[in-house]
């Protein structure tokens, strides 16, 4: 359909104007996305469609030649997701190109009814294919945004802090589900390597309750840390959680626990050869390095 492409090239301005008028008529939500932006997107799409690489045909939207159009549709879908448009609004953007195209074909191309039908059919299918593509791109982009937001939230909720040279703490606050427990595990182990810390305190004072799966995650974290050469101390276990752990038949002898974060910290200092003492006549506690370990 070389004729169709030529027609589009020659009438690009008119197509654009008609398309944009059509879009206004069906009242797209202009509070979400500016006219200028819509106009720019429509213009780009028209330019790309009318000037494809040689031997690219409208009959096959999945061919290599339409890659730039597909990329552009993906870019538009990303901006629509960011503006909060719905998937149907996003697809409607392309469907609105049909009336101006059909009008132009009727006016300029036709010789026989058969040919008219064919041209309209090809155009119709091409625009449908584009709309389908943008709808799928929209869903893909939205999934990505959601996944990223979830990840960011998880990261914010698992801050690993260095208490002392070689001693890390991860105070977990809020309910732990399996995904978050996994995240806790990964960030703690990563931090151990990055900071070369031999001691890691996992403080769960802020965790109201854990289920079996989460308790197992915590234990796996402790075991994995040991395999890497670091020691984990579990602190702040609530009575209910202690019951869950015992109920699981987990041997608490394998895990070092302390009731409070401060006690766990003291233990870690002690194990790394340091002690906390109080200067006479001074109520500020200070740390004096003991023998050997740097």
């Amino acid at each position: 359909m070389v004729k169709l492409l030529k027609m589009m090239r020659e009438n690009q301005e008119r197509l654009l104007t008609d398309w944009l008028n059509g879009l206004k008529a069906i009242a797209q939500r202009r509070d979400l996305i500016s006219d200028v932006e819509v106009r720019e997107q429509a213009r780009k799409i028209l330019t790309l469609i009318s000037n494809p690489p040689p031997d690219t045909v409208l009959e096959d939207f999945s061919s290599e030649g339409w890659q730039t159009v597909r990329d552009q549709l993906m870019a538009i879908s990303i901006s629509r997701v960011a503006h909060g448009s719905s998937p149907s609004e996003t697809a409607q953007f392309l469907f609105s190109l049909k009336p101006p195209m059909f009008k132009l074909i009727r006016e300029q191309l036709t010789t026989t009814p058969d040919e008219l039908f064919r041209e309209i059919d090809v155009t119709n299918n091409f625009i449908d294919a584009m709309a389908l593509h943008i709808a799928e791109s929209y869903i893909e982009s939205r999934d990505k945004v959601i996944a990223r937001q979830q990840e960011e939230m998880l990261e914010l909720s698992t801050p690993v802090v260095t208490l002392w040279d070689g001693i890390l703490a991860l105070p977990v606050i809020g309910t732990l589900d399996s995904t978050r427990a996994q995240m806790v595990m990964e960030s703690l182990l990563q931090a151990i390597v990055q900071t070369n810390s031999r001691f890691a305190i996992l403080d769960i004072t802020g965790v109201p309750t854990v289920d079996t799966l989460v308790a197992q995650h915590l234990l796996k974290t402790i075991t994995a840390a040991r395999l890497m050469g670091a020691e984990c101390i579990l602190s702040g276990i609530r009575p209910q959680i202690a019951q869950t752990i015992v109920h699981l038949g987990i041997n608490l002898n394998d895990i070092v626990t302390r009731s409070k974060l401060a006690d766990a910290f003291r233990l870690a200092l002690d194990r790394s050869g340091r002690t906390v003492t109080q200067k006479p006549g001074n109520h500020t506690p200070v740390t004096a390095p003991a023998a050997g370990v740097s």
């Binding site: 799928e136 999934d143 990964e186």
Partner: protein
Amino acid sequence: MRTVSEQIITRSEVLPIRTQIDLVHVRQRVRTWLSEERFTLIDQTKIVTAASELARNALEHGGGGEMEMSLLAVGARKGIRLKFSDHGPGIADISKAMKDGYTTAGGMGLGLSGSRRLMSEFEIQSSPESGTVVTVTRWK
């Protein structure tokens, strides 16, 4: 028209499992695919480890076989499927073989049970006539 939930195989490859060096190739090839497809480092490590276990089983208990590796796509979601097959003696008691620590060959008995934990889906078929097929899948 492509629907969002349809499962498509986007790539696949078959590797032989006849020698110890083949085991190394299997691990390396799976790793290459996973890093090309941007699986997280932890997912990569879990999947390669499961592949190593199951390929070794096909070699040691099944007398050699092959691995078919396929990349799956369901909408925007990607996954990898590994199918290990051999024509060995089969597994007499599958439910026993799936238990931690069960081994008939002085191994650790963690290959089957461990791979099941490392992957999202695990399927096993075995008979004395046709040998053993283990299919595992992990979604990104």
